[in-house]
Symmetry: C2
Subunit: 491 residues, 2 copies
């Protein structure tokens, strides 16, 4: 891996401190007793990230056997009824927030060492003895976030639904704001590049923690893959280390994220210092094109992320993402006064856009992807964002998708964010707002306290992981409304 210690030191100095707050369950429970086999579900009333301490005592005879408990933490109540033993998907069951503990001596105060993301805590007495019942004396959580609640930009409009959607989006972002912008505090608890970009956008309109974005950009630029590619994500512990996961789109999106940061902060020093990293992403992506000027498709699972729709072909979306990020690079080069580089990038952009228009479109104007010429929402959206088509033509393209039931759909709020962005980019603000209301509003109507990693209204139980128990229900790439509502829909 290629490390730039100077970048990493700069990042370390900018990383935020965590704010701590003590919270207690809203459920009345003090003094509740549990017999062997019984359980108690506590509701903290909102989503929290933090550390939990439990105080137990007993009623009856002096305990003559250890108390054996299962503790389940859940972001949504539905997780409590799922059985970890029945999950056989490809993602590690280690993510399921469930512990078994033994208590040898009662009364006891147990401070669990791990951090959890939760609204609910279920305490189940797997076994006690017949001589005593377990008494739950006190449960409290020490919550953590680096978001400054006092600094949150208010959003006041006359529309209660939008206000609620905004609040839930901000809560989502807040919970993911820890030492870095995590993708989700339940899973994977890491800094992912594509997720960071959307978090940063929401953050600019809400908590405005500019330094935290800057720190994250320096982290990602400070430990890249050996060829200089920004990794898909970064680990912080036990020390900073780039993941060896390489994704075409996530590396490129570093360029867009830097462009976004600079355009909001006008931080020319950072732009200058990180420009070589941004430029390198374009260079590396360029090598992925065939001689027709089209991104080579790949069988490698996850070579390009785009969305969690497992049937989605990534070729055309990747072409659109490339165009989008080359545009961002042009903006950065121009802002830095790098006229020659900007000119070269413009030529590159024109060439790849032309290839997309001539090689990937069908008679109806749809961009098709891969050998099987797959029609998908993702392809059209990214081509619009990449500027392959613009204005009314782009708006018409997006609108015509709705009459194509076989077009591969979007399954993540991450992808729907880009759809909303595309709608706004071609002047369809009204439609964009309708999507915010129906999609994110749909989660709110389902009781979301924070927005979910995955949400397919047609198939609420869908999970790319082979089971919903490992789904994350507070996922920062879903906080789009915080960005869009505050930026475009402040009536």
């Amino acid at each position: 891996m290629a490390r730039n210690e100077e970048f990493l030191e700069k990042a370390a100095a900018l990383l935020p401190k965590l704010h701590h707050m003590r919270v207690f369950p809203l459920t009345p429970y003090r003094g509740r007793t549990l017999k062997a086999g019984e359980s108690l579900c506590l509701d903290f009333g909102d989503h929290y990230v933090g550390y939990v301490t439990l105080k137990f005592s007993y009623t009856g005879s002096h305990p003559d056997a250890p108390a054996w408990l299962r503790l389940k933490f859940a972001e949504r109540a539905c997780e409590l009824s799922e059985n970890a033993a029945e999950y056989h998907g490809w993602i590690s069951r280690g993510w399921i927030q469930q512990e078994e503990i033994h208590i040898d001596v009662l009364p006891a105060e147990i401070s669990l060492p791990r951090r959890y993301a939760f609204r609910y805590l279920q305490i189940e007495a797997l076994d006690l003895s017949s001589k005593y019942d377990l008494t739950v004396e006190c449960v409290e959580a020490e919550t953590v976030t680096s978001a400054d609640d006092g600094g949150l930009a208010p959003y006041a409009c006359r529309d209660a639904e939008l206000e609620r959607i905004y609040a839930v989006a901000c809560r989502t972002l807040r919970e993911c704001m820890q030492t870095v912008f995590e993708d989700g505090p339940k899973r994977d608890r890491r800094l992912w590049m594509g997720d960071l970009r959307l978090q940063a956008l929401a953050n600019y309109e809400t908590y405005k923690s500019y330094d935290m974005v800057k720190a994250c950009l320096y982290l990602l630029a400070g430990d890249t893959l050996p060829d200089g590619a920004v990794g898909a994500c970064l680990f912080l512990e036990p020390q900073i280390e780039v993941d060896d996961t390489r994704m075409f789109d996530y590396s490129l999106l570093f360029v867009a994220a830097l462009r976004d940061y600079v355009s909001v902060t006008h931080d020319g020093d950072t732009a200058r210092e990180l420009w070589p990293t941004a430029k390198r992403q374009i260079e590396l992506a360029k090598a992925s094109f065939d001689d027709r000027g089209i991104v080579r498709d790949s069988d490698r699972l996850g070579w390009c992320f785009v969305d969690w729709n497992l049937r989605l072909n990534k070729q055309a979306p990747a072409q659109g993402i490339y165009l989008y990020c080359v545009q961002a690079a042009i903006e950065l080069a121009s802002a830095l006064g790098l006229t020659d580089e900007a000119q070269t990038l413009r030529a590159e952009y024109a060439e790849k856009k032309k290839a997309a228009l001539s090689r990937l479109r069908d008679d109806r104007g749809f961009f098709l992807s891969g050998e099987a010429k797959q029609l998908s929402w993702a392809s059209q959206i990214w081509m619009v964002l990449g500027g392959a088509v613009e204005g009314e033509e782009a708006a018409g393209l997006l609108a015509s998708l709705e009459a194509e039931p076989t077009a591969e759909k979007m399954v993540t709020p991450y992808m729907v964010h880009h759809y909303v962005d595309a709608l706004i980019s071609c002047g369809r603000e009204e439609k964009a707002l309708a999507v915010l209301r129906s999609y994110w509003g749909g989660m709110v109507r389902e009781g979301a306290d924070t927005f979910w990693e995955l949400w397919n209204p047609d198939d609420p139980g869908e999970s790319p992981y082979g089971g919903t128990i490992v789904n994350s229900y507070c996922h920062a790439w879903s906080c789009a409304p915080a960005y869009f509502l505050q930026k475009y829909f402040r009536k």
Copy 2:
């Protein structure tokens, strides 16, 4: 409960310090890697009690999901193949030495906070992720015992089998010698009166920790049931507290244990100070007799322990135990020069012995128990120990049991200890030695490192708990050979 703070303070000052020793598995394992679903069994080569620290790292990519492990501690290898989820007996599954842990950051050093009793440790990777394997770098145990290995009385005879039986018995005692004499370091980890008495006897011949016995006697006398009865057992944590379990025999055996202690140590002060407690046990037991002079039988489960044979009727054994303990009280009173009290006790003894002989015996001379006139080994053994019959008559009675296949058998080494004691009391040393060889030697031949709580050679899977997974395989009431071999069979 009736507390005597002076007694408890005296006890606290006498309780031993624990010796610590670091041990490592004998199994070659350093650097062994586990994939999800794989497990590793480590053999420490002998039975230990202590605290375990594990160091893990990984091979492959940086871990992208927590490692979820199950750790199983086992005194015998057979425990590892048992499934905790399938145990539905009446004793708490909380006793099963099994933990689930999550490791969020690797490399990691995990010091488990609980104490375990084990020779084997199985590490099972319940789940990792496909991107890394778990590496077991180092496993070590900090073992604890209050026994002084350097002070152990040697036992050298020309018989390798007896030497091995002696060594295993001493190991059993050693492992149970913690802050107090525990019944078993796996389960229940407490000071039980009946168990203490046999441990103390073995201890006098081996480790000779007289103060530790004295401390335990003061503890039991220092916190009794409200009427002054010595409880069946005592809890030490979070503070000293007598269990509310009352057992006819266990209360009485305090008298015998005090008599044993005084006869070995000639500690007159302790005899004098604890005499009122001893005397009170006789008084309380006396109230349990009917007007024929026979202990009233009871339906209350566990009113008198005797043995773990769940079909055993306890009436006749209780009568024998009473006689035995009144004899002990007479010895104590005489030693203390309490002539009147001794005289009164002698009269009481004679009366209850006469009742036993006239009311409980059948034509063949067997003592029968309960309304159903049950014939059992326990009844005859305790009548012999209680002196209801003596010498050749007693020896004949015990011998004739062998021709009675329907007589209820013994299932614990605790009861077999009393059988050996009874044989010796009526001059059948050779038979006693044969029992030591066959019964305890049987466990050794089955690979015992320490002697088991339960051992029925005719039914090795027998457990009074509804499943062997909660059985204790290092149980101090089974260390009889340490006492008998050293005291009677030092060739």
